[in-house]
Symmetry: C2
Subunit: 358 residues, 2 copies
């Protein structure tokens, strides 16, 4: 087992990465210290991993909320439902919420924990690659609004992240690839060498070779932990982590969070963001091609022609990174170096959107 740390003073917490952490149970029992525990999970994950989690917490009072699976259920209504269960069971400030599942479960459960009694403890037990390498780390919690993604939420750091890589054995192919998109993101925004390593290990990662997956998860968490420690509230470089996301959120919203997985939309969004970086005179055409090639080899969908460019632009304007009417975008100066800017020709953005969208 590897242990990393997110250094945030009194709110610092460990990220544990290893095999069989749920089955062994000792780390779960150690890091979930509360007497009263609410497990939040979804209908797909529940039958697979609630039993070992309950065994690990056998000496606690455990209550369960099972959400439907999917991004469409990342709603304020589900947060309200979790709060109702916390109240109905009279859980106090010393209770703990355990988020068992992917990014949706973690975001919804974390936000409920942030709001209940103005904030109770929560522990992330991510069971998807995407959640293990990205969404479970860093304290961003929240839900979608029909008007846009993650528009409602809170910063609320978990007490621990327990990433059991054995749970990836049951992860569908498509979700694995979606998670790899976020792994590629780290290489693109801040670690050129890691990107090269990923290019060399595409086959091993798709074949779920455990050493390759463990290394990809560890390095991703390490990079994210460093960025979050330096900029918890996203006043600066943390925004790099949104590379591809403004375009990706538009893709997800345009398709009502049903046909694209978040990581898939981010993959397509990163390619568009890379191409726009090129249009702004930053990346070379060869860089963009290299990025497209890696994402294609990872079998990620990149064709967004079914979405109209004008709809995409409209949805991008609802993104949280809009300031004083300008859409702030994360662009690459070169592979491994990102920057946030609103200083680009509006016409160039329209042209790039037109080149990719329908």
């Amino acid at each position: 087992m590897d242990t990393l740390s997110v250094e945030l003073g009194s709110r610092s917490y460990p990220i544990l990465i290893g095999t069989q952490l749920l089955a062994r149970g000792d780390e779960v029992s150690r890091h979930v210290t509360a007497r009263d525990v609410l497990i939040v999970t979804n209908a797909t994950v529940a039958p697979l991993y609630v039993p070992p989690l309950r065994t690990a917490l056998v000496d606690r009072r455990v209550v369960e909320v099972v959400l439907p699976d999917g991004e469409a259920h990342k709603t304020l209504a589900n947060v309200s439902r979790i709060l109702d269960v916390l109240v109905a069971n009279r859980f106090g400030r010393d209770a703990c919420v355990v988020a068992l599942g992917g990014g949706v479960v973690g975001d919804v459960a974390g936000f409920a924990a942030a709001c209940y009694q103005r904030g109770i403890a929560f522990v992330q037990v991510p069971t998807t690659l995407l959640a293990q390498v990205d969404s479970s780390v860093g304290g961003k919690t929240g839900v979608n609004h029909v008007g846009g993604k993650n528009l409602i939420g809170a910063f609320h750091q978990p007490a621990a992240v327990i990433a059991d890589t054995s749970t990836l054995d049951t992860l569908p192919e498509r979700e694995l690839r979606a998670g790899l998109a976020e792994v590629v993101k780290y290489g693109l925004i801040c670690d050129r060498d890691f990107l090269a390593w990923l290019e060399q290990h595409v086959d091993a990662l798709l074949a779920r070779e455990s050493a390759a997956l463990a290394q990809a998860i560890r390095r991703s968490c390490e990079l994210k932990a460093q960025i979050v420690a330096r900029d918890e509230r996203e006043h600066g470089e943390r925004a790099w982590l949104n590379f591809g996301h403004t375009f990706g959120h538009a893709i997800e919203a345009a398709t009502h969070y049903t046909s694209w997985l978040h990581g898939e939309a981010v993959a397509a969004g990163m390619l568009i963001a890379a191409d726009f970086s090129r249009a702004c005179g930053r990346l070379t055409a060869a860089d963009v091609q290299r990025i497209g090639q890696l994402l294609s080899r990872l079998q990620l969908p990149l064709d967004v022609r079914a979405i109209r460019a004008t709809d995409a632009l409209e949805l991008m304007r609802m993104d949280k990174k809009v300031q004083s009417g300008r859409i702030r975008l994360v662009l690459l100066d070169r592979i491994g170096t990102a920057r946030v800017t609103a200083d680009y020709p509006e016409e160039a953005l329209r042209a790039t959107l037109a080149a990719h969208f329908g």
Copy 2:
């Protein structure tokens, strides 16, 4: 105009106390720096004070949400409604929410500001005595749940508090007296001299003499600002501010937030808390009598016999201050000195409840 400060490092903010601050408008314009402003208010306050507020913000894009008046509307549904308006108007992270009204408006609007895009700026413009001396200062925001008061919320500090004491001219008698209950609280928990001053100025305060009201507001804000600066997240002494509130919340919940104003319930709750402090061997019977006399002279309702003692206890168990099943209570060691404790005989609590409730 007096200016106090809540010292919280990078989140410090001013409390402005003075007459005609809305009518003059310059302080409002200075402290609401955003281009996009959402005013949240209620149906009673809107016709009185939205016009001067809009005049002060004439160069901004101003949108308005008018809630029904009353504690019964401090709900997650109304937070959701405010969020819908923020989204519908495409307000960005640089927008500002202005809470114009009493404690309910401030708590609901502040919580919406805390959740929107994981936190945008908000400015408190309290128009009731209770909000000016207590709820607008300190960053506690949130809503009630059918299961209990303030069970859902966030710590989110305002960017400024603008307390225009001229707005008290239109405040109903009953609301004025409810606000004075929270003023008395400060004397009881931490300032014996202030309590004596209040006893000497009951008539002046009830007659709304401006010098007396200004002094009561200033001293209350000063004491609250000091406590919040030392203990923002209520790990210690901030809990003193809940003196009388656990009993009071039970009174409010038992009557479905309709028949008792919050300050009235706190008044009755403080007398019960004082009597329980006596039962625990802390206060003298003369102290309790003195407190009851002051609250009576302020014409606050103290008779809770219409509520059953068993119902009150049940509701107290849902209070946020319950830890590991024990109800933590704020008791007085003597007038001017409070302490939080869960260490008291359960039987004594039942006896005190039986003596006051029905």
